[in-house]
């Protein structure tokens, strides 16, 4: 009954590695580029210390626009850009480019939302003590919002684990792609079940870890 799964075992391992590679690149890009973007989005928003309507409008519009694309369309539309960056448009690294492109505004929005939860008074007190904007970001906003940010990272990771399945369209590989190619197109139900089960386990682990870390960081 598990014949197909057993014969596919080496491929499953490769696929798992591809998934980790794609999601890892996308999540890293989201944290290092989307994170600052989200902070800027928050700080330039109405009533915040760097309030700037034109800048906020542009950032807000960019985030909304990229997020409105169905991922598969973004994937195809970005092929020339992907070629420019990765040198090829196929394979897991190439697939990580559009994934990153989608993950950056997604995470930026989550970061902005988390920062909004920080009480204004804490920021105001820091201003009264003579803190610079950068000090307020690193010593007040990120500290007070840290458990929300960890949960945001958890949501991001799980969403892009799921998005990465679509990357199969450009030969990105990964677990989701395996499920589609063997489980779906070739009617190998056992492969389908095994891969989906693998994804279920991965999601459970990510969410459990995220919850634990967030709880540990929250001293409120």
């Amino acid at each position: 009954m598990l014949d197909n799964v057993i014969s596919l075992l080496p491929e499953i391992w490769v696929a798992l590695g591809q998934t980790f590679l794609m999601v890892g690149i996308a999540v890293s890009a989201a944290v290092f580029l989307g994170g600052p973007l989200g902070i800027l989005l928050f700080l330039t928003g109405k009533g915040q210390s760097l309030e700037n309507r034109p800048v906020f409008f542009v950032l807000d519009w960019f985030v909304n626009t990229v997020r409105s694309f169905p991922f598969i369309i973004l994937l195809v539309a970005l092929v020339p850009f992907t070629r420019l960056i990765a040198g090829t448009s196929i394979g897991p690294v190439a697939a990580a480019i559009p994934l990153s492109f989608a993950a950056i505004p997604f995470f930026a929005r989550l970061v902005e939302q988390s920062l909004r939860e920080v009480p204004r008074g804490a920021v105001e007190a820091a201003h009264a003590m003579g803190a610079t904007e950068l000090q307020i970001v690193f010593r007040v906003l990120l500290v007070e919002a840290r458990s929300g940010l960890v949960l945001a990272l958890t949501v991001l990771t799980i969403s892009f684990l799921s998005y990465s399945a679509v990357a199969g369209v450009v030969g990105g590989g990964g677990i989701g792609d395996l499920a589609i190619r063997f489980g779906y197109y070739r009617f190998q139900t056992d492969v389908m079940i095994a891969t989906v089960a693998l994804l279920v386990i991965l999601v459970q682990i990510i969410q459990f870890t995220g919850n634990r870390v967030a709880h540990h960081l929250n001293k409120r």
Partner: protein
């Protein structure tokens, strides 16, 4: 250095001098004038109360002193410096010498007591050893040495406010601005916080400016009082002198109770 006018009667110049400041806020109902042409002198070492009904502009006036709010017109001088004319960096420097506490304490919830008190020292680049010593010292002043490792969520309201005072004192300010510091506290806790503030004033010589609507706080702490109504300073008096001619009900309440 810009010094305003001449000093009258040989008194030392006031540590805080507010001249004709105005501040309005835009609301959905239109513009609201929170402070209108208010002037005030506060002497070095004083305990100065700003009282009035809610919405009279007391908190806004207090926040104009360290420029948490920027006045539309008028001047604010602190220690002889015209604060509205300062550069961003110079203003941050000045804010080191002006501590502030709030009704809602405004502590970092995810930082323990010691880290909260260390905050102003860290942002101004103090050394580790300096910070450790000063944190211990400040927690000693407010009587919370044993709570250094606790998080704010584990403390009572009065303890949180004392942590906030310790934090405000960390950079050795010459002025402490207090925005309704006891309004969220019960009478006993209020007394313990006021005792700390009194000690800060008497032993450390810190000038205290306190906004409150509680008459008991004014009586317990303040030597001088300004009454605000509709954004204006309508009356000013010393609490240790009997005044027959006080205009406002609120001033008479403080003086005769």
């Amino acid at each position: 250095m810009t010094h305003l006018g001449q000093v009258d009667g040989g008194d030392p110049p006031p540590i805080i001098r507010i001249r004709n400041v105005s501040k309005s806020f835009s609301t959905p109902q239109g513009s609201f004038k929170a402070v209108a042409d208010a002037s005030l002198d506060i002497a070095r070492g004083d305990t100065f109360g700003i009282i009035g009904t809610s919405g009279a502009g007391k908190s806004t006036l207090l926040r104009l002193i360290n420029l948490l709010e920027r006045p539309e017109s008028g001047e604010v001088h602190v220690d002889g410096q015209e604060v509205t004319a300062l550069s961003k960096a110079a203003l941050r420097g000045l804010r080191r010498s002006i501590g502030m506490i709030f009704q809602q304490y405004n502590l970092l919830q995810n930082a323990n007591v010691a880290d909260n008190v260390a905050f102003p020292l860290r942002i101004h680049g103090a050394s580790r050893a300096e910070i450790a010593a000063r944190v211990r010292e400040c927690l000693g002043i407010v009587g919370l040495q044993d709570k250094a490792e606790a998080y704010p969520a584990q403390l009572s309201g009065g303890q949180k406010q004392r942590v906030a005072i310790a934090r405000a004192l960390a950079t050795r300010p010459s002025i402490l601005l207090c925005d309704e510091p006891t309004s969220a506290l019960d009478p006993q806790t209020t007394r313990s916080v006021l005792d700390v503030l009194k000690e800060v004033n008497q032993k450390l010589g810190v000038t205290i400016v306190i906004v409150t609507h509680e008459m008991s706080v004014v009586r317990a702490l303040c030597r001088n009082v300004a009454v605000m109504e509709h954004g204006r300073v309508v009356e000013q008096f010393a609490t240790d002198q009997a005044h027959g001619g006080l205009l406002t009900d609120i001033a008479r309440e403080v003086n005769y109770a």
